[in-house]
Symmetry: C2
Subunit: 339 residues, 2 copies
């Protein structure tokens, strides 16, 4: 196992200097400290630190551009809460660290973790082009990623809900109501989870024997493109129901369709994804697929401690839940059949 001596030898400096850098002593230059920490990481010194009794510190890394967590109605709030509810009684100190693309570029993930003496991280809101996503491919300090998956690195785990199951529940619900032509609307496929849900939508449609024409999906980074380009296009194609990749898009679609003169759910059924705190208060209240956020946080903690204890968990998926409210119903054409 790597020792302080190994690091000192590699850099041709004294053990004392290495020790100072690792213990954040004031009388060492920032440049030298950075160099020592980077060498420590390179030599695998993280492994050693990770199991030290003193290292009872965990961090939650939040990409603030993508996920909010400070208020109870924010999506990330309960995820953070669930994690802390498990970690703190177990004696861990948990720090929440907002990160940006810039802050990731300024330091590598491993050096950051070593510098702050964090044993493991819980990573929220990262997109595929966040710089540390590349670091996670080879990092050795445990990282548990919410809604992101790194294949082939035994020090990372992926936590989320089973989106295949969720999409299957959504399509089955609409099919049971009598819908046949179902569209899909989501933000751009630039995150792991949007890709997963997009594929899950077409897989569920296929399994239920429904139309899988790729033009039934509309995806864009810009909300106005979703609402003013894709939504009218899907309505023109004759869809009687829409599944949205997120509740925010579903909510916008509810409003937009009613402004276009559609009566919901008679003329169009809409299903969201996430069960955001606002979902019971949309008009009409939104049928959606729930992510149990408290339990996502709890599973995040479990995965982190498992990785710390050498149990190489790669994936934990929670069951998805369909929450039926009033934005879905029997399609008008079907009702006419019945009458």
């Amino acid at each position: 196992m790597t020792t302080i001596q190994d690091i000192a030898d590699k850099l041709g400096i004294s053990k004392g200097t290495v020790s100072k850098a690792l213990n954040d002593a004031p009388d060492i230059s920032e440049t030298l400290q950075k160099q020592i920490l980077e060498t420590a990481v390179e030599l695998g010194y993280t492994r050693l630190r990770r199991y030290k009794n003193s290292a009872r510190r965990l961090c939650i890394l939040v990409e603030e551009e993508n996920i909010q967590y400070t208020e109870p109605h924010h999506f990330g709030h309960d995820i953070v809460m669930g994690f802390r509810q498990m970690a703190e009684p177990a004696g861990f100190e948990v720090e929440i660290v907002p990160v940006s693309e810039d802050s990731q570029r300024s330091i590598s993930y491993e050096v950051f973790m070593l510098q702050n003496d964090y044993a493991a991280s819980f990573v929220l809101g990262f997109s595929l082009n966040d710089p540390w996503m590349t670091d996670f491919e080879t990092s050795r300090t445990p990282a548990v990623l919410y809604d992101n998956q790194i294949r082939g690195n035994p020090s990372t785990a992926y936590i989320g809900i089973d989106n295949d199951e969720g999409m299957d529940l959504a399509v089955a619900h609409l099919k049971d109501l009598g819908h046949k032509k179902i569209g899909y609307l989501s933000s751009a496929l630039e995150s792991h989870i949007m890709q997963v849900r997009y594929n899950a939508f077409f897989q569920a449609m296929k399994q239920h024997g429904l139309d899988t024409d790729p033009s039934l999906a509309g995806c864009s980074f810009f909300m106005y493109e979703c609402m003013e380009k894709h939504l009218p296009r899907l309505l023109d194609m004759g869809v009687t129901a829409l599944i949205c990749g997120q509740d925010t898009i579903a909510n916008a679609a509810l409003v937009q369709c009613q402004q276009l003169g559609y009566k919901l759910p008679r003329d169009l059924s809409i299903i969201g994804f996430d069960d955001l705190p606002i979902s019971p208060y949309t008009s009409p209240p939104l049928t959606t697929i729930r992510q149990d956020r408290i339990n996502i946080g709890k599973c995040g903690y479990y995965a982190a401690t498992s990785l710390l204890n050498g149990v190489s968990i790669g994936t934990i998926l929670l069951h998805a839940q369909l929450i039926v409210r009033n934005s879905t119903g029997v399609p008008a054409c079907k009702k006419a059949d019945i009458i």
Copy 2:
């Protein structure tokens, strides 16, 4: 919540009789007891029992036709061990219950669990046509299934390794060595896990830009068909490497190829799946994808207690590990190139 009175009312009998049936009293007929237990399950009485402090009993249900566990060299041994290593120190009594298709047909899963006062089960070795697989679609007594997945029932969880990752590691290893034409050999696609690995093989081949002709796979329930029909066919097609869905098939293929005069790994590389205890002792020692069986057992326990505590875990996958031994190497044609 369902009470003993509800069960008594439904059947038009006394509370005392219901209580006798639930407590396995000797002075009640077997037929009446069965009827009472079935009614209790129907009314949701399992929910009540599940959380009783007295119900600290778990069972491991083993389909003995498919999985052995009694000896240390048996595949199931360490899975059972890992589960017990977690459950027993936590105060659970763990009973191992061998089951067969016949025993499953004689009683429903829920009635069996209630009758024996088991709070949850860990299910090993079930194939898709085991009778209780249908019960698991709607059961409410937690069931954690090794290598089987029930979608849409929040009282079940699926535990295993990440087979997509494993297959990706196997294909990447062979591609790195210089192999281009790779075949796949496995038993029949009658179990969930054989279907998963079969699909994972072609997905990995596609991702690595290699030939995905379906005829590159040979699958049969009968070992002799794998060895005498599919193996020669794949060799005739010019494969330089074989991935096998199980170590047992890989081991048979090692022997068979050498009897046909092939030198391994020069003429053919072979990779297995599972890392059975025999794998280091095949000739040559087998390169394979390891399932960490102790940790599968530990995760099984974690999933069971999570379901008991209302954390609806659907899936836990452990990272797959590639174990490189001597049954894989640079293909002869590639070596000739180098010389």
